[in-house]
Symmetry: C2
């Protein structure tokens, strides 16, 4: 089977809307995904950390993914998160993503057990690849030690690339350390391994060193200006554009990230139901929401075309 074309550019780890009873809200989800693709996102890393993906079951995520495709979101723009604590869940979710024709999958390491060996992690990813057994699979590793507490090391990447070239396609680096992203670019950039920064703060640096874009929380609310940096990274005013998107991120980051993204969408989309987070996360309180919107508005922030 032919590989789909690889995604490059800005991807949003799409936040997941919930109803009052905490059920995932497919209709609002499809609507937001369509807005993101119209507004600057090259792809959608649905079911990432910012999506509260690990607060949802595989069945709930499969249903949402099917709703996206049925709702006209092209599978070629999708890079769903499919890594779970349980090997069997990772296999099921990855199979479902490949069957739907998704461009790739973004895979967390199993994250319950801590201090596990590279050999154990290698076996986990290898077992998923073998069980999925489909040449179309494009697997992006997801390195986010501040949350997962389990790291994707350089020797692990090397071993996986040796065994599964053409399937192991890249990585999202949410370590928050540019030196780590740089080390990965230096080591694997020439082996068909696409490195995405985990925050737009590193977008320009990443592009200048051979990276392919970023997969970033704030892509949910600020996709246009971030995409502008991606498109113009070689231009004379690239540093100025970068400073602009970094400043916006700094404002959002003053509040807890996931509830803040939802608060922004709720406000600029005139849709308060977007505030809801699934436990264990909690929505912003009134004071937090007020401060967030005030700071963003004072900075000239907007979300063109979001409100119905």
């Amino acid at each position: 089977m032919p590989k789909t074309r690889r995604i490059e550019g800005v991807l949003a780890p799409v936040v997941t809307p919930f109803r009052k009873d905490y059920a995932p809200d497919a209709e609002r989800f499809v609507r937001h995904c369509r807005w993101l693709l119209k507004s600057g996102c090259a792809g959608l890393a649905v079911f990432g950390t910012n999506s509260e993906a690990n607060s949802m079951s595989v069945a709930e995520k499969r249903k949402l993914l099917e709703a996206l495709v049925a709702g006209g979101v092209p599978a070629s723009a999708l890079m769903p998160g499919t890594g779970h604590s349980a090997l069997s869940d990772s296999i099921e979710m990855t199979k479902a993503a490949v069957a739907l024709g998704c461009a790739g999958v973004l895979m967390l390491p199993p994250f319950y057990y801590k201090g596990v060996s590279d050999e154990g992690l290698y076996r986990n990813f290898a077992e998923v690849i073998e069980r999925v057994g489909d040449e179309r699979l494009q697997l992006y590793l997801y390195h986010i030690p501040p949350v997962s507490q389990v790291a994707i090391t350089l020797p692990l990447i090397d071993k996986l690339l040796d065994k599964y070239p053409g399937i192991v396609a890249g990585l999202k680096d949410s370590s928050g350390e540019w030196s780590n992203t740089k080390a990965m670019l230096d080591a694997f950039g020439k082996r068909g391994f696409d490195v995405f920064a985990g925050s737009e703060v590193f977008l320009l640096d990443n592009m200048r060193h051979g990276g392919k874009g970023c997969i970033t929380a704030t892509g949910n609310v600020n996709p246009g200006p971030i995409d502008n940096v991606y498109r113009n990274w070689r231009s004379a005013d690239a540093d100025k554009l970068q400073a602009g998107i970094s400043a916006t991120r700094k404002i959002v980051q003053k509040q807890p990230m996931i509830p803040a993204l939802k608060g922004i969408i709720a406000h600029f989309g005139n849709d308060p139901q977007w505030m809801t987070c699934r436990p264990p996360l909690v929505e912003l309180n009134g004071g937090q929401q007020e401060a967030l919107i005030r700071d963003l508005t004072a900075n000239g922030f907007s979300m063109p075309g979001l409100a119905a």
Copy 2:
């Protein structure tokens, strides 16, 4: 509906056998559970940390639980782990356990997101209790911050006990800190809240301060002597008995705990397939297994009645 009688004594977080292809092995699982109940365990905390529970899907665990009950293991002896990263998984697994008549469930907090608030954790547990909606539910909280990285705090317990007395039944403390166990006993011991030590090292201390027993990894291989401490904690030689089981644990702990438990069962049960761990865990290597068995044998360790 009448409540089942609460379990007290020694519980094993039963290790889960896997086949060569990493599929859960229900037949070996039932056999080991029956041996444990014959050999000193008052109950079985299946699907705990030591069970590699978080490496299995809800569907796999439900099948194993049904196999146990079908295989003659009394549901009144079962306290399955039902806490997952995903709220919906925790609800499904808890419902299944209650429907089968299990004596209780041992519930991890959602463990992917770190630094979450007590309010978020309260909502998680409250939502599970409300959705299960069954007075038979006996919920034991599972505090294991070294692995989960998410703690069950005293204020959280207090709030849950206030709202759900008679349902919130107790806690397993795997903090590894006696001072924490003691604080929980002091604060909640008189409110029908049963505290289990997470290691037999604290069994005698726990009994002397009003605790109800222990739920311990090594209960998988050394249930008789541990139960002996539980039964004789008021006797004159209790400290000597305690020293004996602590010494055995010390030997086992020299190796990675879960592979070590499986290596011991494989050796003393003449059943090498027991060695297998599901990724991301890895079985002991030859040298580790040899050292473990040599040290245990030198200490007079045995597993009476295990070998077929």
